[in-house]
Symmetry: C2
Subunit: 314 residues, 2 copies
DNA sequence: ATCGGTCCATAAGAAAAGTGTATGGCCGTA
DNA sequence: TACGGCCATACACTTTTCTTATGGACCGAT
């Protein structure tokens, strides 16, 4: 590196600065939280290092030399920027600055995340938060490559380069408009849905195959009226009476409005979501903080509509 | 002072900076002239001080975290300004920057100083040099109050707040045009100057009273044709045959040209000049350097015209 | 003039920080 | 599997830096 020129410590420069500012070694010492001899030595050593006197010793008092004043201006600047480094380090440590990039499924981002985000941002107002919605595979790649800091994905995960922490566990419900004949039942199963127009989503996704399997086991052919891809649209269709939507309960709640209601679907198909980060390295601290908020949020959410309506049908 | 925030050393910051720049602890260590464990420790300690990780430990390699990169930019700046402080300190030590303000009598500044200045400035090209000519009293005050760093004054000095170092010792000569009748003599005294038109200077100054006293002792009334105030003008008058000038020999040399010559004046009235600084504090280093050049200059000047023409008259 | 207070410098021992050598773990590659 | 590069830790040693104690110089006041 640059090895020319005198090499002095930060403390020495600070001592010099403080002496000029306060006008005496003693005052500088108290200002720095040191004893007077310590500062005296610091100064003496600093002067010896740079090779010229910073102060006249005038009857025991220190008076800056022209050289000293010349150096002081520059030292003032340098200490200022050092102070900025310290301040920045503190801010980073306190999450006063920073950036967090996450991915989450659209329904997750629309439904449950806003509350978590609200809490998170109130804790870290200065943090820049980004939440994208991508396809599942893209999300996994983004997380694994650390193009984003983390994200919410549905379990199970098939990739070893991802680390997951389960945060939410939801059942499956049927969403139907108020007044629908089946609304009288406290729960629904494939048999009870025989011939009933359905709105299903996620053709090709794992959760969808579970539904299909449940119907198959019951010997019922599902009357799929519409295939869609977001819970929001499925609920919108259900609202208009186009069909009964069979969806993730937790995510459906946000879209119920006042014209829809839920009834548990049986068998109990579970949807488990996890906060996922790259397995390569430790997740960013902000990601952990966000995860903490997410856990907190889910911890105080009603577990399941099944719990609320536990009991026998009608 | 500001005691909040993490306090880390310059070495730690430099180590962090070097690691990011070189990409590895090992490379940073060689760049800093340290061993790898030393830098490793420095980094570990730095991270502990600021409270968050600067690098991912990815399979044994260090990869900067976003936080680390954030801090790096600021650290880069700070180290840059620290480098500027070091450079300035070095320049000050090497007299690559600085200012020297002196005072000197006009004839001094015109006659002998240019050579000294030449030498001084060739040694310290970047130094800003100021030389003023003021009245003797003003000069003393300027020096004593350190409004200027030093100056050349004629001895003796009557003030205890000034420190003087004799640098030049000159005799008194008569300056007369070539072909003047008295040029035949190898020296002149009041008696030989009886009735000869004279050009004298410094009415009221100490040296003038010495000349008057010499004439008085010889019982000769000086035939003063012109009173003037600078040696330059006295010589100019002498050139035109207006009168014989009795002046400081050393200072007169610069004004002789090719139409004047000097003859020692007897009695031998000495003019002693000293480099004067404030007695309150040590003189600035640049003043001492200038003094050194002045001494060097006078050391290789012919001592006195008396020495050259030592011998008997005619 | 002497005394008390202030200020700076130095000495000496103690505490802290920094450094080098040695060593071990981890990973990628031959 | 062995080797080489990289990082972290352990331990002993050196250097720096701190505090306490002390002395000298100066100023103002009694």
């Amino acid at each position: 590196m640059n090895n020319d020129g005198p090499d002095f410590g930060l403390r020495a420069l600070r001592a010099f600065h403080a002496i000029v500012k306060t006008g005496s070694v003693t005052a500088a010492a108290t200002a720095m939280g040191l004893t007077q001899p310590a500062v005296s030595r610091l100064l003496a050593q600093f002067e010896q290092t740079i090779g010229f006197d910073l102060f006249y010793r005038d009857k025991g008092r220190l008076v800056p030399t022209p050289d000293g004043l010349l150096l002081f201006d520059e030292a003032d600047l340098a200490l200022g920027t050092m102070e900025r480094v310290r301040a920045l380090a503190r801010d980073i440590a306190d999450f006063q600055v920073g950036q967090l990039r996450l991915v989450a499924p659209p329904s997750f981002a629309e439904g449950v995340l806003p509350d978590v985000i609200d809490r998170f941002l109130s804790r870290f107002p200065k943090v820049h938060l980004t939440i994208d919605s991508r396809s599942v595979e893209t999300s996994k790649t983004l997380i694994a490559t650390r193009a984003v800091d983390g994200g919410f994905l549905k379990l199970p995960l098939d990739r070893p380069d991802l680390t997951s922490v389960p945060v939410a566990n939801s059942g499956t419900v049927c969403v139907l408009p108020i007044g629908h004949p089946l609304a009288a039942r406290s729960w629904l199963d494939p048999l009870s849905l025989k011939g009933v127009p359905l709105v299903l989503l996620g053709l090709g996704r794992l959760s969808r195959s579970h539904i299909d399997a449940a119907f198959a086991r019951a010997g019922v052919r599902p009357e799929v009226r519409v295939e869609t891809h977001t819970i929001g649209s499925a609920c919108a269709l259900a609202t208009r009476g186009i069909g009964v939507a069979i969806v993730n309960e937790m995510l459906a709640r946000s879209y119920l409005g006042n014209r829809l209601l839920m009834r548990p679907f049986r068998p109990d198909l579970r949807h488990e979501y996890a906060f996922v980060t790259s397995a390569m390295v430790a997740p960013p601290r902000l990601a952990l903080e966000f995860l903490s908020d997410a856990k907190h949020y889910f911890a105080q959410q009603p577990k399941d509509v099944l719990d609320e309506t536990a009991g026998s049908p009608v």
